[in-house]
């Protein structure tokens, strides 16, 4: 009888101890979320939230505090380190950037010939060929410098593009070009043509071709490239 009682007591005492490690591991996992507050001096908290949105894990949360221009982020400690590093790059004084704008007039002409691409567009010749225009003429090129939040202006022939350098997004390594308004001088009046907001990845060239429709014989291309 005593043996049975002793065995039973040992089992009852040691059994839960065996499970203790597993329970502790689960509890540690549940407690592994940490909270950090990030306050911003140079950038808006809501823009910072958008910048880190892709980095926050499924169990993490972001809370925007507009009054203090800060973010409260809950996430795993390892992920919080990455987010902190990204926000460290994000919340910096307005950075200078350069935007190169090249304007190209493209058309489809009756002659059965391949397009002769001007020398200044050789770097994008293969891409321009995809658009199947066989008449390509360079209108001009301009290099604009500015800081985040600052204005930019390009005037090439009869065209004028004015815009704002937006915020740099370290998550996508891109800069927003906001309120990009393209106008054309008709007589002595500027006629607005389009208005857009772009995300330009640094070092990447974007060919933006605008035309009335797919059957249109003419297009205006803007070859844009942003860099620090």
């Amino acid at each position: 009888m005593k043996r049975i009682a002793v065995v039973m007591m040992m089992a009852l005492l040691l059994g839960p101890a065996a499970f203790a490690d597993a329970d502790a591991a689960d509890a540690a996992k549940a407690k592994s979320l940490s909270v950090r507050t990030f306050q911003f001096k140079h950038k808006q908290a809501e823009n910072a939230a958008a910048a880190i949105k892709a980095l926050v894990s499924a169990g993490g949360t972001i809370s925007i505090q507009p009054k203090t221009n800060s973010l409260v982020v809950t996430d795993e400690p390892e992920n919080l380190k990455k987010i902190a590093a990204l926000l460290g790059q994000f919340d910096v004084a307005p950075q200078p950037f350069h935007l190169t704008v090249r304007l190209v007039s493209a058309g489809r002409v009756a002659e059965d010939r391949a397009a002769r691409v001007p020398e200044e567009l050789r770097d994008v010749e293969s891409k321009l060929a995809l658009l199947r225009y066989n008449s390509i003429e360079s209108i001009g090129s301009a290099d604009v410098s500015g800081r985040e939040g600052g204005p930019g202006l390009v005037e090439l022939a009869a065209y004028r593009a004015d815009f704002q350098f937006g915020e740099y997004d370290p998550a996508s390594d891109s800069i927003r070009i906001t309120d990009f308004k393209l106008s054309r001088l008709d007589g002595d009046q500027l006629a607005p043509m389009m208005k857009t907001t772009l995300n330009l990845k640094l070092g990447q060239t974007v060919i933006m071709a605008v035309t009335r429709d797919a059957q249109s014989q003419r297009a205006l291309m803007m070859v844009l490239s942003a860099r620090r």
């Binding site: 009888m1 049975i4 009682a5 065995v7 039973m8 089992a11 009852l12 040691l14 059994g15 065996a18 499970f19 892709a54 990455k82 990204l86 007039s105 994008v124 293969s126 891409k127 995809l130 658009l131 997004d169 998550a171 996508s172 390594d173 891109s174 927003r176 054309r184 006629a191 043509m193 389009m194 208005k195 857009t196 907001t197 772009l198 995300n199 330009l200 070092g203 990447q204 060239t205 974007v206 060919i207 933006m208 071709a209 605008v210 035309t211 009335r212 429709d213 797919a214 249109s216 003419r218 297009a219 205006l220």
Partner: protein, 176 residues
């Protein structure tokens, strides 16, 4: 058999009426009633009409003895059942102990069979890029209701260095 009303009408102290005494043997309420008036009536009802003589239970001594022995056997059986139930707790303990030991043993087997971090598993260093860039649409907004924006997928030539975006907008002039 005599009714209780009839018994109480006919009963009187010191009665030896066989019918009345027979009723008392089977009716506790009337026995209580009669005993208040005549405490000796209970003894007379047991079968002896006179004090000092041998009392003979109703149905005879053999029937009385059989009844007593039957009660004894019933009590013995009840005691045996009760004792067997009382004696089952060691079995319960043994079962609980066996289950506990089985669970504990299974836990130990699981823990020792599962590869632990301390086991000499070769680790391979994997190069992880410092940062994975997210992708944003090139055209975030475009102020026209009649525009179609197409981001031309790259075919691999030139990689991602050059992107093409086509904007079809009916509001644009035809003589671009």
């Amino acid at each position: 058999m005599m009714s209780c009303d009839s018994f109480r009408t006919r009963f009187h102290t010191g009665t030896d009426d066989a019918a009345l005494l027979e009723h008392l043997r089977s009716c506790d309420r009337c026995l209580d009633f009669a005993a208040h008036a005549d405490p000796d009536v209970m003894f007379r009802a047991l079968g002896s009409s006179t004090f000092g003589s041998e009392m003979i239970p109703p149905g005879g001594i053999d029937a009385f003895v059989d009844g007593v022995m039957q009660q004894v056997r019933v009590r013995d059986a009840e005691t045996a059942v009760a004792s067997s139930q009382a004696a089952s707790w060691p079995r319960r303990l043994a079962m609980a102990a066996a289950i506990s030991v089985a669970v504990f043993g299974a836990t130990l087997i699981y823990r020792f069979d599962t590869p632990q971090d301390s086991s000499p598993v070769p680790r391979v260093a994997v190069a992880v890029p410092n940062r994975t860039l997210t992708t944003k649409p090139i055209v975030e907004t475009y102020d026209s209701q009649n525009a179609t924006i197409v981001e031309v997928p790259t075919d691999g030539t030139g990689g991602d260095d050059v992107k093409i975006v086509m904007i079809f907008d009916e509001n644009l002039p035809a003589d671009l």
